[in-house]
């Protein structure tokens, strides 16, 4: 299986669940963001989670192709940059988080985007029949 397909199989369902959860529990997520931006510990840990995932994705797949695989590359860079910003610039992260999510429309917009991108990655990752044994399908 190509690395991009494998990453899509992991990332796709996670994004779908997060996107759905944001849409179903908007107020809880707004509370999570507000709590997180006031806690240096939570900003640090989320950066610590984000950075290795981003670097791992980019080590496996890092190509600007004109197809769905570019989404994997973009996510790799977003996780990497997001992780670096959270660890290096926690104050900026707090301000950015508060600013972006202060608008009432921000949370549902993010939820819909995450759900759509996750759904797309799931489709592309899993539409090839079989599991790990089906290398030729990739």
């Amino acid at each position: 299986m190509q690395p991009a397909v494998f990453i899509a199989r992991l990332l796709g369902p996670v994004l779908v669940v997060i996107g759905l959860s944001i849409l179903l529990n908007e107020q809880i997520y707004a509370a999570i963001v507000m709590e997180a931006v006031h806690s240096p510990t939570l900003i640090y840990f989320s950066g610590l989670l984000s950075l290795p995932i981003g670097i791992a994705i980019l080590n496996l797949h890092r190509a600007w192709t004109a197809d769905w695989r570019v989404v994997v590359t973009i996510f790799g860079w977003l996780f990497t940059i997001g992780g670096i910003v959270r660890i290096l610039l926690p104050h900026l992260t707090a301000v950015l988080g508060e600013t972006v999510f202060s608008s009432a429309a921000a949370m549902p917009v993010v939820g819909v985007i995450v759900l759509l991108v996750g759904g797309w990655l799931c489709f592309e990752g899993y539409r090839r029949a079989g599991g790990a044994q089906s290398a030729k399908g990739g």
């Binding site: 240096p40 510990t41 840990f45 950075l51 670097i55 080590n59 290096l88 610039l89 926690p90």
Partner: protein, 131 residues
């Protein structure tokens, strides 16, 4: 790519960014430690994360060679020991963190060590061109 290079490619940049982050934001990271040691949940969760990462590293690479690769083994063992400590002896872990890091030079020293080790691992991991 062999396992030790892949681990260096992942752990190197992460350690370097953490080290730089600690050196640039000492007050923020002191607050983070003070906040973290008050929460048994956070100590437990970081313990699980440390232990898993450490066991994964040692399963992929565990050799005491006389070159940079030994850093990977050391990081693996430190993560395992830190993970076990946090899960089995959370109050000791909290006490140690406060004693070592809060209001002492422990934090910038740890930041500098993380930055240097991270830089070595990044250079060694990525200097072989391509994947």
């Amino acid at each position: 790519m062999n396992a030790v290079n892949l681990i260096a490619r992942l752990a190197g940049p992460v350690l370097a960014v953490i080290g730089l982050g600690v050196l640039l934001n000492r007050a923020v990271y002191t607050d983070a430690i003070v906040e973290a040691v008050k929460s048994t949940t956070l100590i437990y969760l970081t313990g699980i994360a440390c232990l898993l990462a450490g066991v994964a590293i040692l399963n992929a690479h565990r050799a005491w060679t006389a070159d940079w690769r030994v850093l990977v083994t050391i990081v693996g063992w430190l993560l395992v020991i830190a993970g076990v400590m946090r899960i089995v002896l959370p109050s000791v872990a909290a006490g140690m963190a406060t004693t070592v890091y809060v209001g002492t030079v422990g934090l910038p020293i740890a930041g500098a060590v993380a930055l240097i080790v991270g830089a070595i691992l990044s250079v060694m991991g990525y200097r072989a061109a391509g994947k």
